[in-house]
Symmetry: C2
Subunit: 203 residues, 2 copies
Amino acid sequence: MGISERKEREKGEMKKMITTAAMKMFLEDGYAKTSIRNIADSIEYSPGTIYLYYKDKDELLYEVQAQAFLQLLETFKTKAISKNPIERLEQLGKAYVSFALENPELYDLMFIIRAPMNVDEDLHKDNGVATFNCLADCLEECMKNGLLIFKDPVQAGLQVWSMMHGLVSLNLRCRLKVMAIEEESIKPVLFKAVEEYLDSIVV
Amino acid sequence: MGISERKEREKGEMKKMITTAAMKMFLEDGYAKTSIRNIADSIEYSPGTIYLYYKDKDELLYEVQAQAFLQLLETFKTKAISKNPIERLEQLGKAYVSFALENPELYDLMFIIRAPMNVDEDLHKDNGVATFNCLADCLEECMKNGLLIFKDPVQAGLQVWSMMHGLVSLNLRCRLKVMAIEEESIKPVLFKAVEEYLDSIVV
DNA sequence: CAAATATACTGAATGGTGTTCAGTAAATCC
DNA sequence: GGATTTACTGAACACCATTCAGTATATTTG
């Protein structure tokens, strides 16, 4: 019967409505300053209704994080298209840094809360994994052709991602202030860092 | 007259009493779960009293952060003592990673909140700067002797710090899960990363 | 079709939060 | 010794996340 299907669909639409409003408000006002009440207000439902669709505020955040990782994955797919794996690696790195610079609040959201993939064994649709694999695959292709200094693919992924994440997260937390880098030169400085670093890991 | 001096001293003692309790509770229960009321309770004063010494909860955090940076600086000074700047660089890197692994809550506290040094022009006693300079000085000495691949000292500091921060912060936010690194091998894997990376930047 | 049930939603209530401020009591000053 | 400054209190304010008895609508059953 079509009724249960319609119900399912309506449930999905409601969840989307909530997450869309939540994402908008998280980005505009920050996670901490966005209350369930505010979200409920903005979609014209009572606060209790949100709890019929999401266990708590954290679960709402996880949903938004999943969407954010998907967004980053999309960026990778459109910006890192070179057939040459080394070139593609640079495209990935710059896409990552650009993403963080252009969506600082979103990037922050993706890394605020500890253990967002803590449902552990659960088959939590993990966009984070898919996004990381985009990088891992590229590194693997580079290494297969002996183009990188790494011997261990785990180390390769760890080090490259750490460098990218380190660059953008130190910037987002304003820790670059201690290096006296002026605001307007941040982007070129970070891009230079990506280029120099990637140059330093090709054989 | 000695009265105002005693008052000054007592004020300082009170501030220390508050920050000590705050640090303890931030580390035990986390920043978000620690309330001004809880802190007041633990030192047996009323909530209002805390506001006579600190403007708000954030200012309390900044104080704790300053102390944490001082603590990291101390770690650097005791663990990075080699005369050889390249050796010292490795000691610094490992000290940094160890510090984060051994004090995860503290490290988190140092990088949770956006713009902690946002009093800007104010001569906010900046332990963060002093700590970073420890690294910057070491890098400068290496570069002066032509031991590193870097040409620009700013890039050197940025890249090295980014790698260290990236490694430990991805770990703290449980983002290493996507690489399927087992819990017990995290420390050796991170140390290996530090060694490999530093090897890759010496000429 | 009507009664029974299931679903979707409400909004007040609970027990918290950061922060303020009138009031009080003690210490210091004149 | 009276006036004033200082240190502190704790109730009050405006929020917060979350829960849950109650209601109204939709669906199913007899």
